[in-house]
């Protein structure tokens, strides 16, 4: 997010060796702390406004845009099917880790592990499946979108689109946006399932917990389910918007594509964490 002009401090024009007159510094003084802080906030504000504008324009094109046959299906394949293997591996491992750590933690205060499965499922539905899955997709999908769009910007294909009177948002971002909302929801439900099954097996092997005791659905109530689904939709919308913004604002050659991809990964992950905080806190305050 921060550009590099803050890092290289301008060389101070020192007093001339033999000169008697006061030298006039030809470079502006280095920005002080307040200026840097203000610059950071202005940059943040500008990025937020651009993201909002991109989001609104994408929504407009979702309703009124061109319908290109097969584009959404293609990106659903790109975003969804091609992330499936990665997500399954990661969520399988995280399911095992979470249940193991929760079991160890639980055993220190209570020897009874019978509620482990029910609590784990509630956390999975309400938060963990959506947030960890979305963080993974933010790296996989977000980096992919930024790299594709960024290389199109650098090779002037986006300018060519504009010259053909095709808005790049309509042509590049909108199909990814629709595809991402659908596929992120599907993938997160799948990843929750994978994490749950692997957790069940871990509890069975490590703590001798009967799978029937583990498969206890009584803690999952409608508020948890609703929170989880809202998170799926929010992350599904945020990933293509934030990473598409990073891709469209690429400049420079291959270095620019690299930094755009970096920015996309960082900003998308931050967006997921911030949305998680907002949605979790709201859900806690509403449902208690």
């Amino acid at each position: 997010m921060s550009t590099s002009h803050g890092s290289s401090a301008p060389t101070q024009a020192g007093p001339l060796a033999g000169g008697s007159h006061e030298p006039v510094p030809d470079t502006p003084p280095a920005p002080g702390f307040v200026a840097k802080l203000g610059g950071g906030f202005l940059e943040l504000f500008r990025t937020a406004r651009e993201l909002y504008s991109l989001f609104v324009r994408t929504l407009y094109y979702v309703v009124r845009g061109r319908r290109e046959k097969g584009a959404v299906a293609y990106y659903m394949y790109e975003i969804g099917n091609r992330s499936l293997f990665f997500l399954t591996v990661v969520m399988g491992f995280i399911g095992m880790i979470l249940v193991y750590q929760a079991g160890v933690q639980n055993k220190r205060i209570l020897p009874d592990l019978s509620m482990l499965g029910a609590t784990y499922l509630e956390y999975l539905v309400r938060d963990l499946a959506a947030s960890i899955g979305a963080l993974m997709l933010a790296t996989r999908v977000g980096a992919g979108i930024a790299a594709e769009v960024g290389s199109m910007v650098v090779t002037e294909q986006v300018d060519a689109l504009r010259m053909c009177a095709a808005d790049p948002i309509d042509y590049l971002i909108k199909p990814r946006f629709i595809a991402s909302i659908i596929m992120v929801t599907c993938l997160i439900i799948w990843s929750g399932l994978v994490a749950y099954v692997m957790g069940l097996l871990t509890a069975w092997v490590m703590f001798d917990l009967n799978p029937q005791t583990f498969m206890n659905l009584q803690m999952v109530k409608y508020p948890a389910l609703l929170t989880g689904l809202v998170k799926c939709l929010a992350y599904g919308a945020a990933i293509p918007i934030v990473s598409g913004h990073a891709g469209l604002s690429t400049f420079g050659g291959s270095e620019g594509v690299g930094s755009a991809t970096t920015r996309a990964v960082v900003n998308t992950s931050l967006a997921v964490i911030i949305l998680n905080l907002i949605i979790s806190a709201t859900s806690f305050l509403v449902f208690g």
Partner: protein
């Protein structure tokens, strides 16, 4: 003539319609290839690190650009995730009236899993991806070849300092994130469920969390640093094909490090 055309068409179709076995074998081979070449990068790196042939200025520059410049996202991530941990635990705490255990619960999960894992994911996105992009740009613009021409070893001049800087950055950032996540958890506990900081502190230091829990997280973070460093250097040096190639490499390194982090986390969690 017609027959040869038909044969060509059929072979083209055979290439297009890869069977599931073919695809699985190809994926396995590519994973094996990546692991192998990462091992070779690791071997070359070790031979320079053991003999201390690491460029000192480049090391400090890398530490500044990777470590100091990543502080804002580490701070934001740690504060927010600490708060999220407490928000997620809040309904359970209120149901069981377990206010005295909040500090312990937040500390345990933060030290052992959440701080090392999330810091590693953010550093992977910020530093690992950036490192690949920089090395990849140098490869694409033939700067690495130019160094070889000048008889400068690119591994000890460029790659080894970055690798060391990534490992140090992640380790130190995790120490910072541990502290800040606890601060965020304490704040959220105070605001949302009315756990006073004194109660929080007492349950955190009540003896249920040992040095082992913190060390477990820190050992993990050092290993995650090795994974991120190796994969970002490997994918950066293996870039081909101009600006789109750099984008693809960054994508590949981020995905590979994330998968590597989780797989390694599993093994470390079960052995420690």
């Amino acid at each position: 003539m017609a027959k040869s055309k038909e044969v060509a068409a059929r072979s083209a179709r055979a290439v297009e319609q890869k069977g599931i076995l073919h695809a699985a074998g190809e994926a396995l081979l590519s994973i094996a290839q990546t692991t192998g070449s990462m091992g070779m990068v690791a071997g070359r790196l070790m031979s320079r690190l053991v003999r201390l042939r690491v460029d000192r200025d480049e090391l400090f520059r890398s530490l500044y650009r990777m470590g100091v410049k990543s502080m804002p996202i580490v701070v934001v991530t740690a504060l927010f995730t600490g708060a999220i941990v407490v928000i997620q635990a809040a309904p359970l705490v209120q149901r069981l009236q377990a206010h005295a255990l909040v500090g312990w619960a937040a500390g345990f999960s933060t030290f052992r899993e959440i701080a090392p894992l999330l810091t590693a994911l953010m550093i992977n996105g910020r530093v690992g991806a950036n490192n690949t992009a920089e090395l990849g740009t140098m490869v694409v613009t033939e700067q690495i070849d130019a160094m070889r021409v000048l008889a400068i070893d690119p591994i000890s001049f460029l790659v080894a300092p970055r690798f060391l800087a990534i490992v140090c950055t992640l380790f130190l950032a995790t120490v910072l994130a541990d502290a800040l996540a606890i601060l965020g958890a304490c704040g959220a506990g105070m605001v949302l469920i009315g756990v006073s900081p004194a109660t929080f502190y007492n349950s955190l230091t009540g003896g249920l969390i040992g040095v082992g829990d913190i060390m477990s997280g820190l050992v993990k973070s050092a290993l995650f640093g090795v994974v991120i460093g190796l994969s970002s250097c490997h994918f950066g040096l293996a870039v081909t094909g101009g600006a789109p190639g750099v984008g693809r490499a960054v994508n590949a390194t981020v995905v590979a490090s994330a998968a590597g982090i989780f797989v390694l986390d599993y093994f470390v969690s079960f052995t420690l």
